[in-house]
Symmetry: C2
Subunit: 248 residues, 2 copies
DNA sequence: CAGAATCAAATTGTCAAACAATTGATTGTT
DNA sequence: AACAATCAATTGTTTGACAATTTGATTCTG
């Protein structure tokens, strides 16, 4: 049974201990906010030294499973998973993947269109005035002539963030985090090099109008139109790159 | 400049070093498969001791950003982000959130319906015979009378895994991982306690039929119907819990 | 000369003991 | 009773050493 582990690779003690504690947390043996035994205590329990235990604890801390406090009442405590923490982690993972594992722009655009489209019915039904206002604010910001590329991208991300929050379903907002925070910037990267930012702002504004009218079909049409445009730009960019990218 | 850090909280040296190296990787200063300097080397560069550097490296290892090998040509190397690695990380995050941050079953069911629904057009268009066969295999497994709850749930997860893979868009499959691997089991948890597994299998089978016929509307209808049923069960379960949960 | 066994070197893994820094609790003082 | 100084517990960090593992060069043998 254990031959697999032994044959392949022997995980380090730190890794094993981290896994063991992780199991305890996931199985509910250690409840939220509960304090773990002290590092020295853990060291003797697991039969290793304190630095080894510390490596294991730092692994868990990197995964946001525990937090550490110094001082008299300090120690290592089980973290309560939070939406924002999980959100950040998902964004980090998705961003890394987008940055370092390039893929066809069509694939990216399609994923954005499909998943964002799934949010439209709920967003149209439940959007409140505050959502419309926030989105229109961003559109206004996007229309400023001398806005930097960076600011434009950030504004577009905020726009979409509000859009998914308008669904009033935190689970969907969480699931969409990868799309909003990683995919959308990637598409903006292609797009605003082509100086079509005005068109994007136009689409965003029309999307606001449709949501204000609670017009799901119209909103989907706007989304689809903008996706088509993005796909064309992506195709052109790829073409240019393939033909004579060094031209300019 | 440094007053911010001092005023708020002083992150540990290990944390700072991990962040610094992480930045280097994300900014492309360290390319994939590149070897980091040795631990002793890093220690002197950052002006800390070797165990401190090791804690930082273990943090990065926990995030799958680097891998470590012992021996003469060993060291710490930058990892190439992989779909499966990112997938696993996303699933871990989503599962943790589902397990330890309970939420209304309606919210969960709605998220599943919306996001899975977004996959249907592509799945219907691009599903191959191998997808249909794999899904029908799972349905057959679900119809076995004395299947364990655990096996049924695992089979249902595999069914949905194939479903999202049928979209032939790896980014969507990645984004849907949370839904398939964390949300679906949670709903099964509610559902198969009510012994409606036959009905689930029926729905899954009809879904296969619709996808075989490339009938998007029909597939969405089946999905919607099963979601309604799940919502009812969830409401009943919640009712029972609220009324006299200790009855039985 | 070719190949195999052996040894050396480089690197991470682990340990031990100690000191520093931080923070809450305690105790003493006014 | 209020407040300040001290204390104790705990994590953060350092130093130094040795063990385990892997690779590559070296040396021995046929």
């Amino acid at each position: 049974m254990t031959s697999d582990d032994a044959a392949e690779r022997q995980p380090s003690a730190g890794h094993q201990i981290a896994e063991a504690i992780r199991e305890l947390i996931l199985d509910g043996k250690l409840t939220v906010d509960q304090r773990l035994p002290g590092e020295q205590d853990l060291a003797t329990r697991f039969g290793v030294s304190r630095p080894t235990v510390r490596e294991a604890l730092k692994r868990l801390a990197a995964q946001n499973l525990i937090r550490t406090r110094r001082g008299a009442t300090g120690g290592n405590f089980v973290n309560r998973p939070t939406w924002s923490g999980a959100h950040d982690q998902l964004v980090a993972t998705a961003t890394l993947l987008m940055t370092m594992a390039p893929m066809p722009a069509e694939t990216v655009a399609e994923a954005r269109l499909s998943l964002l489209g799934a949010c439209m019915p709920m967003a149209a039904e439940r959007r409140g005035p505050e959502h419309l206002r926030a989105m229109r604010d961003e559109v206004a910001r996007q229309r400023v002539a001398d806005i930097s590329d960076e600011d434009f991208c950030a504004s577009d991300v905020r726009f979409h963030r509000v859009l998914v929050e308008a669904t009033d379903n935190p689970l969907i907002a969480f699931q969409m985090a990868g799309v909003v925070e990683a995919i959308q910037p990637l598409l903006n990267m292609i797009t605003y090099r082509e100086r079509d930012r005005t068109r994007i702002a136009d689409w965003n504004e029309r999307l606001c109008d449709r949501l204000e009218a609670r017009d799901v079909e119209g909103a989907l049409a706007e989304l689809s139109a903008s996706a088509d445009h993005t796909a064309q730009l992506a195709a052109r960019a790829q073409e240019m790159r393939a033909a004579g990218g060094s031209g300019s």
